[in-house]
């Protein structure tokens, strides 16, 4: 089985720079000094927090992989892309830099999704899914056992060094969703893309809201429901940014 290594985002950025050739020496000098660098250093926003805060939004499925079919007839890939666009707008309006794994109905392999997330050096990665089974919002962190940080972690289990932070992010998302009056289920799972991400990562699966008799009370295609979910997720990420910048 080929072993892939989760190259740290800094070195990945260096790889891009080295291909360009112009800043190769500078990049090598930064690497030797062990200081962080980015391919395109952006000036910090004047009114936002001083440090860079990036969120990766992964709209699950796409292209030939349509995911599940929702009761309304909509495909999961369409729903997740729409939710990503909605959430990106909310986060961008609050000064959070957002990186998405896809912006159209394109097929993106799980490894490519993890590569995009790892290159972004994100402080939070959300993989958005939808399902007709269950009720409310299902939050999943990786089921990998927590591991010590390694210079070159194995690709398929790279998330192991971030599991503790992922569980903390899951807790913040849970609080925000409960505060918004939504039912939340917490769990652990194995998703190829999430297991290879080197960032605090949580898979968010959105299901219809159900009453006590398990009858659906709010369908997935309800715009108000989608807005409430996106708003709660955005509030959670703002809270996460605040926590991340606390000393």
């Amino acid at each position: 089985m080929p072993v892939r290594l989760a190259i740290r985002p800094f070195f990945a950025a260096c790889n891009q720079t080295l291909r360009g050739g112009a800043l190769a020496l500078a990049c090598v000098a930064f690497a030797a000094a062990g200081q962080p660098a980015s391919a395109q250093p952006a000036p910090p926003p004047p009114s936002g927090p001083p440090a860079r805060f990036v969120v990766v939004l992964d709209a699950a499925h796409g292209g030939d992989d349509s995911g599940g079919r929702l009761n309304s007839g909509q495909l999961e890939k369409v729903f997740t892309l729409a939710m990503t666009v909605r959430l990106r707008s909310l986060l961008s309006a609050r000064g959070i830099q957002v990186v998405t794994t896809r912006d159209s109905d394109a097929a993106v392999e799980p490894n490519r999704r993890a590569e995009i997330a790892n290159h972004a050096a994100a402080q939070a990665c959300l993989s958005l899914h939808a399902s007709e089974s269950g009720s409310g919002i299902h939050l999943f962190a990786s089921s990998l056992a927590p591991a010590q940080s390694a210079r070159f972690p194995a690709w398929k289990t790279a998330q192991a060094t971030f599991v503790t932070r992922s569980l903390a992010l899951e807790g913040v998302l849970n609080s925000a969703l409960l505060h918004a009056g939504m039912g939340v289920t917490l769990g652990r799972t194995t998703l190829a893309a999430v297991d290879s991400m080197t960032c605090p990562a949580v898979a968010v699966e959105i299901a219809p809201e159900r009453g006590s008799n398990q009858a659906v009370t709010t369908e997935l295609d309800d715009p108000d429901y989608q807005a409430r979910v996106a708003g709660a997720l955005a509030a959670a990420l703002l809270e996460w940014r605040t926590e991340a910048h606390q000393p």
Partner: protein
């Protein structure tokens, strides 16, 4: 007046007809005897059925995303592989029922085979130690390996049908619950099973229904619920 050669020909044809009639009668008798003999060799008693035993099934519930332990009485063969298949068949029969708490079509026939193999520690090197290659150390090593095969931890390889995977509802929660309930049920009834891998129609498959990773080895003990816990 009938010519002599015609009389002779008629006599031969008559004789041949009689001979063929007798031969046909004998062939018929033989076929009848064979048929009777075949009926005699047919089983007259029902095949032996394995005695009913208590089996622990870890059943998923979509409503609260939990795994609950249930005890059912069902015939269980002595062979561990067949036993594992029978237990998983019962579990998937429960999921195929109309009032199932975790609805998955397919039923017990969705498990084609369960292979039990000696488990290798995950992350352990497959490379033999340097001393093992020497002739003096090979026999104890083989004896230890043989003992490990008989009493050590086992890897269960569950071969599911393609129709089961194709008809499985898509979703992280539902797929995770199916996998964890299978792992926990195997471990509850065959405690030596510590690791589980999945095949679909004998081939490795990326995901069960678009989400849960089927390429990795699952640790069965991790899936066992304490009491109605969430995975």
């Amino acid at each position: 007046m009938i010519p002599r050669h015609q009389k002779f020909l008629f006599s031969i044809l008559l004789l041949a007809s009689l001979v063929m009639g007798v031969a046909l009668w004998q062939l018929r008798d033989r076929a009848h005897q064979r048929l009777i003999a075949g009926q005699d060799s047919a089983p007259t008693s029902a095949p032996e059925v394995a005695p009913a035993e208590q089996a622990t099934l870890v059943v998923a519930n979509d409503a609260d995303s939990s795994l609950l332990t249930q005890v059912h009485s069902l015939p269980l063969p002595d062979d561990p592989g067949a036993r594992a298949r029978a237990v998983l068949g019962k579990l998937l029969d429960l999921y195929a029922a109309a009032d199932a708490t975790h609805k998955v079509a397919g039923g017990g026939s969705s498990v084609t085979q369960v292979f039990l193999l000696p488990a290798q520690e995950i992350g352990a090197s497959a490379k033999p130690k340097s001393g093992d290659s020497r002739s003096g150390n090979s026999k104890p090593s083989e004896a230890a390996a043989s003992q490990n095969t008989q009493t050590g931890p086992q890897l269960a390889v569950v071969n599911l049908t393609g129709s089961f995977a194709a008809s499985h509802p898509s979703g992280i929660q539902t797929e995770t619950l199916t996998i964890l309930s299978i792992c926990a049920t195997l471990h509850a009834n065959l405690p030596r099973v510590t690791q589980v891998r999945f095949l679909v129609d004998g081939q490795q498959r990326a995901t069960l229904a678009g989400h849960a990773d089927l390429t990795r080895t699952y640790l069965a003990a991790d899936a066992v619920p304490s009491e109605g816990t969430h995975p």
